[in-house]
Symmetry: C2
Subunit: 366 residues, 2 copies
């Protein structure tokens, strides 16, 4: 099958670019003396996770237990579940997962939750690797840095069936700060309390093997932190319009990683000279960013969402008006939730379809 025969809308992975992205990040963390546990919430695809690990990653981070269950089933190890596991039925699922993949780690930010995890682990005869989730200013989950984190870490360390491994601090509010210098300033401000917390816990005699954090936006910023041991960057492997536009160390566009992910569409109607309609709408692209999908090497049109299954192309250059049946690819605004709309990704190298990979953890936010 060729690229032009893939039924649209479809998610396409440019293998040359993807492979270069993996190599670049691997080299970057090696040079920096850090490790990488990339976030699989970006792709939810075990085949991509396997390739990240083959390129040197320790494992993958998973947003949720459901995602981790799928990764484990496909043989991925070194899992870190980055959202607290709280529901009673989820605790049972977690201990089953840990029985299968004993090096799995989970984050905590609450004493009662620590107790519940310890009880479940003891009852089911497993040892649970635990990271303290620290709020580094993202206003999501996490214990406060300093004293609160220390108390929680002590609580974990003193519970049987739990093993304290370290700290996680995800500064989501810094990931997309525009301009490298400003982003660096924001991220260092956010991450400094995490480093101080590390020192405080170690001074207390607590074992801190791992300090995890970082995004694709801060991949070459957070490695400057001596106390950070591993990066959790996810989007770097495929990139998206959102990350490209924040700028890099080298300039106004983040060019360290290449745009490897596209959505292929077909022009299904050219009703007037001013517009054409493609078959990719808000079920083909995530809509959580304030900017639209961007046509790939296809000047003369501008995309606008026009319903579940329709994208409206405003024809800005009449000499390049789309023709019925023309295939047009777009860079998605945001890769993670766009991956989550598709059951599979078509791996292409130039005109050739090289493989089709299941996005096996799609929809597994539970």
């Amino acid at each position: 099958m060729t690229r032009d025969e893939i039924p649209t809308p479809a998610l396409l992975l440019d293998m040359d670019r993807f492979e270069r992205n993996l190599e670049r990040m691997a080299k970057h963390v090696r040079t920096a003396g850090k490790q990488l546990r990339p976030h699989a919430k970006t792709h939810r695809c075990p085949e991509i996770a396997h390739r990240q690990i083959a390129a040197g990653a320790l494992g993958v981070a998973c947003a949720k237990l459901g995602e981790a269950e799928v990764m484990a089933r496909f043989g991925i190890r070194g899992l870190l579940i980055t959202t607290e596991v709280v529901a009673p039925s989820a605790l049972r699922r977690l201990t089953r997962l840990v029985a299968e993949a004993p090096d799995t780690m989970v984050v905590v930010d609450n004493r009662d939750n620590v107790d519940a995890l310890a009880r479940a682990a003891a009852e089911d005869g497993v040892t649970l690797n635990v990271m303290i989730d620290i709020d580094v200013g993202g206003r999501r989950t996490g214990a406060q840095p300093g004293e609160a984190a220390l108390e929680l870490a002590r609580h974990v360390a003193h519970r049987g069936a739990l093993r304290l491994r370290g700290l996680q601090g995800y500064a989501g509010h810094c990931a997309h700060v525009m301009g490298w210098a400003k982003r660096r300033e924001a991220s260092h401000a956010a991450m400094t309390p995490l480093m101080e917390t590390r020192a405080r816990l170690e001074a207390d005699g607590l074992p801190i093997d791992i300090v995890a954090g970082g995004s694709t936006g801060t991949f070459d910023i957070d490695v400057e932190l001596q106390g950070l041991t591993e990066l959790q960057s996810g989007s770097y492997c495929v990139m998206d319009v959102d990350y490209r536009r924040i700028g890099g160390r080298a300039g106004d566009t983040l060019t360290d990683f290449e745009m490897a992910l596209t959505v292929a569409t077909t022009v299904v109607s050219v009703p007037t000279g001013e517009r054409a309609m493609v078959d990719g709408g808000l079920k083909a692209f995530s809509t959580d960013k304030p900017f639209p999908p961007e046509a790939v090497e296809r000047p003369g049109v501008e995309y606008g969402f026009a319903g579940d299954e329709h994208g409206r192309l405003t024809i800005t250059d009449p000499s390049r008006a789309p023709r019925l049946g023309e295939r047009i690819e777009f860079f998605p605004p945001h890769c993670d939730p766009t991956f989550n709309l598709y059951d599979r990704v078509w791996c292409v190298r130039g005109p050739r379809v090289e493989a089709v990979w299941d996005i096996a953890a799609r929809g597994r936010s539970d």
Copy 2:
């Protein structure tokens, strides 16, 4: 299993409300002397389609061929594909579908596409039922009303292997006009050219069995049009925040149909007295509307998106602060793309889980 044991985030269908919605719409179209072919792009769930047909619907409308293929596989007939089928490989799939489900209809808005459909149908030995797609002002697909539509209809009528069935006009731009009277005015203005086109084609001797259109917003408006034969409303079966707020004939809220669809979440972190985090983010709700999910009978919190897997609850009433592990349900802003995020919907009646239905056409926008 009980409602409280469903792993979250999860999509829940309140069966009592859902069944009343189906009954009300069935009674409405019966009273109006019209037919109903509800849009399955809302739910992509064959079990829901079966129940709509059991309640009197002629079949279901499908946004795309892929959706129709799944519905046919689950025994649904009376399919109308409401987006033009254009790609060469899609034409072959269409004729296969028609061989299996001969009463399937497809829309056209382009002469070359008509020729391509006719060739494919003739080659594969099927007769293809065709509707002329009319642009009623929604600025999406469709031939212009009047002369252009007439010429295209003649072209269809004169091609072997094609059977002209009628007209479709979807006034998507009218569906969410706020206030019933204004919406009625907008929809009548949009749909009048469709009715005039019907008359013009009939005067030309062309057979027009079916004139299809209408949304949940115009369900009790478009039935006033003598020339309309069937409604395509979809969201009525489950409703959403977007449709509820447009108002109904009776007042500022559309109350003709009940809010039957919710997303269940769990509070996974209560890091401060001002906020709590639930495990439903932008992979749990569609984000295409400018307003957030709405907590169901749960005062004291306001939802804000906070990432792929996180919703941030701002605690507006400290006396009702969420507790860790609490389950909170939300009405989704927009039902169609929210259904499209889930592989299954949990059918609940009060505290009891009655069934789990596959959203078998999820992701089938191809």
